[in-house]
Amino acid sequence: MNPIALRFGFWVLAPPLLIAAIGFGLQGLAAANSALFFTWGFFLEVLLAGLLQGVLYALVALGFVLIFKASGIFNFAQGSMVLFAALTLVGFIGMGLHWTLAFIVTAGVMVLLAMVVEKVVLRPLVNQPHIILFMATIGIFYFLDGFGQMLWGSDVKMLDIGITKETTFILEGVFEGGILVNGFDLVAALVGAVLVAVLAVFFQYTRVGRALRAVADDHQAALSVGIPLKTIWVIVWSVAGIVALVAGIMWGSKAGVQFSLALIALKALPVLILGGFTSIPGAIVGGLIIGAGEQVAEVFLGPLVGGAIQEWFAYMLALIFLLFRPQGLFGERIIERI
């Protein structure tokens, strides 16, 4: 049989089967233990909420992947870029700008930030080991956190750009009581899909995109054929900044703009481990798995151990996953040469 068709078939069939298996497993557990509760309708509702939460993780993870692909840098500061962008946007809206205008101005600020980062951090550290650059981005993480809150204050701010938050029930005929769906989550999923499509086109079909892929492959080789490394880096960090802004808007509208955003963004790290550091589809799939996994685990397994397993579930899942497939679901296998 055609291997591509086989692979496609696998990806179509595996998720529903996996979900069904987990569902039956949980049902069995719930039957055995009175602390647990399970109905299929509730399970699907939690699963759906988790998947949509996963879209938001994926949005943050996308920014990581972009920078990693183009510069091999694991940008720990992506989370604080999300917070910073959201704070800036709210700040401008607070000054009386319409949100579309504020979006454009904030995007400009993120481009500016990219330029500063390139000049102050990336350029002096070029050719340093990746681990040094990683630690430098932890520095950026701290700086941005402090800077953003210094500029705009640290109180929780509301961000409302008119996304619906109405909830509806679907599939009422199939399950008792139906499945509760939040309109906002659907909008978030839509935004995520559009963003991924735009990025895919950008990477695949534009000149800049091609240069980006060349840089990702080999800095020096790219330089030697005349690709301006500095410009590429500024572009990538700008795009990552704008992705962070979009992620910030979605998170901010959902949970308010506050310091904890930067920490929520840490959840993007296990997402990356699952999806592979260099793969945009990986970021999406990883985000969905983490989002759904932790939500389902919290609701259906949490009562066993007293709850709040959401705090670490994603990391543990990634950790266990790493042991079996270190390169992630979609990552390239690393072959070491000596």
Binding site: F74, V120, V121, P124, L125, Q128, H130, I131, I132, F134, M135, A136, I138, G139, I140, F141, Y142, F143, L144, D145, G146, F147, Q149, M150, S154, L263, L266, L269, P270, L272, I273, V305, G306, G307, A308, I309, E311, W312, Y315, M316, A318, L319, L322, L323, P326, E336, I338
Partner: protein, 359 residues
């Protein structure tokens, strides 16, 4: 002129392999030890002992532990806070459960327990490297803090989730933990304890095991080909590192703060210790101390300097400023001197060796 080693010949490899091969260094060390033991407890006020010297020593030990793992063995960890929590809660359960146990033994046993946990979370390092590992250690961070926060058994069902260190004497009549401990006694106890552990660390890094760590850090494939088992090298680094960090956590809870909750060991703590290691110098014992001193002093400076200059700045702004300064400093050090303060110190010493005739 004073700092000259000309004329000091070594006649044995033993003398050449000493920690301080230069006589002037040994004299300086004795002087420094004299000041630390005799002058500091007499001259420094209780406030200074409790807010600067005691936390400095505790943090130095934690930084030392992380430096063994990250600086010497090259395995980046963001789980320091979680391991410190292990040390704190293990020693609490031990001290309360077996009151006869001497407090130093409690700390050492808590360290051993943490080492076991460290090995467990170090297992992924056999398959993954660099920032992959960093993410894996985040699992330790979040999971461990959750465990200590969630299960009241660890706090002996204290309703607030806070543990208070029971009073214990290090020598009869000299309390180091609990409310009865005098700051000067605490300081001297920590000084001796941390100095001994630092000496042990120095001995380890200049022996076979230290060389296997550094070889693994610099080039793991080549290390394997000369016979170093990567499993053993990495896990032993995790074990020794966690041992130190666990003891630091125990000292934090028992000697420094006296009472603590799991949330004191959140991810900020991990970053704080990582910053000490980066600023102090990766792969340097001395650097761990310098970095700890720097990070302990900086916030105190930041909160006092503006008022000295007559500026009125709110506490909130100062905490944001602290974040910014830390972040900027990290980038600054990585750009200007990736080997940190320890390297600057070394350069200064080399200059001094030649001074005043630099050629």
């Amino acid at each position: 002129m004073l700092y000259r080693e000309a004329g000091q010949f070594k006649t044995s490899y033993g003398a050449d392999q000493a920690i301080f091969p230069i006589r002037q260094d040994r004299i300086a060390l004795v002087l420094f030890a004299g000041i630390a033991v005799l002058a500091v407890p007499v001259l420094a006020s209780n406030y200074f002992l409790e807010t600067i010297f005691v936390p400095f020593l505790v943090f130095a030990l934690a930084a030392l532990g992380l430096n063994i793992l990250t600086g010497y063995c090259g395995q980046l960890s963001l789980g320091t806070g979680g391991f410190m929590a292990c040390g704190a809660f293990f020693s609490y359960k031990l001290a309360v459960g077996i009151p006869e146990l001497h407090i130093v033994l409690v700390f050492l046993l808590a360290g051993l327990g943490t080492a076991a946990v460290g090995v467990l979370f170090g297992l992924p390092s056999l398959r993954i490297k660099g920032f992959y590992l960093a993410v894996a250690t985040l699992a330790a961070q979040f999971f461990l803090v959750w465990v200590f926060n969630k299960f009241p058994w660890w706090t002996n069902y204290s309703p607030s989730g806070v543990i208070s260190a029971p009073p214990r004497d290090v020598l009869p009549g000299l309390a180091v933990t609990g409310a009865g401990g005098a700051p000067a006694v605490k300081y001297l106890f920590l000084l001796v304890f941390v100095a001994v552990l630092a000496l042990v660390a120095k001995n380890l890094v200049r022996s076979r095991i230290g060389r296997t760590w550094m070889a693994t850090r610099d080039m793991d494939i080549a290390a394997e080909i000369i016979g170093i088992r990567p499993l053993w090298a990495k896990l032993s680094a995790f074990a020794v590192s966690s041992f130190y960090i666990g003891i630091a956590g125990a000292l934090w809870a028992f000697v420094y703060t006296g009472s603590v909750e799991a949330l004191a060991f959140q991810i900020d703590r991990s970053f704080q210790v990582l910053f000490m290691v980066i600023i102090g110098g990766l792969g340097s014992i001395l650097g761990s101390f310098l970095g700890a001193a720097f990070i302990v002093l900086l916030p105190i400076l930041l909160s006092n300097v503006p008022s000295l200059l007559g500026l009125q700045i709110s506490v909130e702004i100062i905490s944001h400023l602290e974040f910014m300064v830390f972040g900027a400093l990290i980038v600054f050090f990585l750009v200007v001197e990736p080997h940190g303060l320890a390297r600057l110190w070394q350069i200064a010493k080399e200059k001094l060796r030649l001074w005043p005739f630099p050629y």
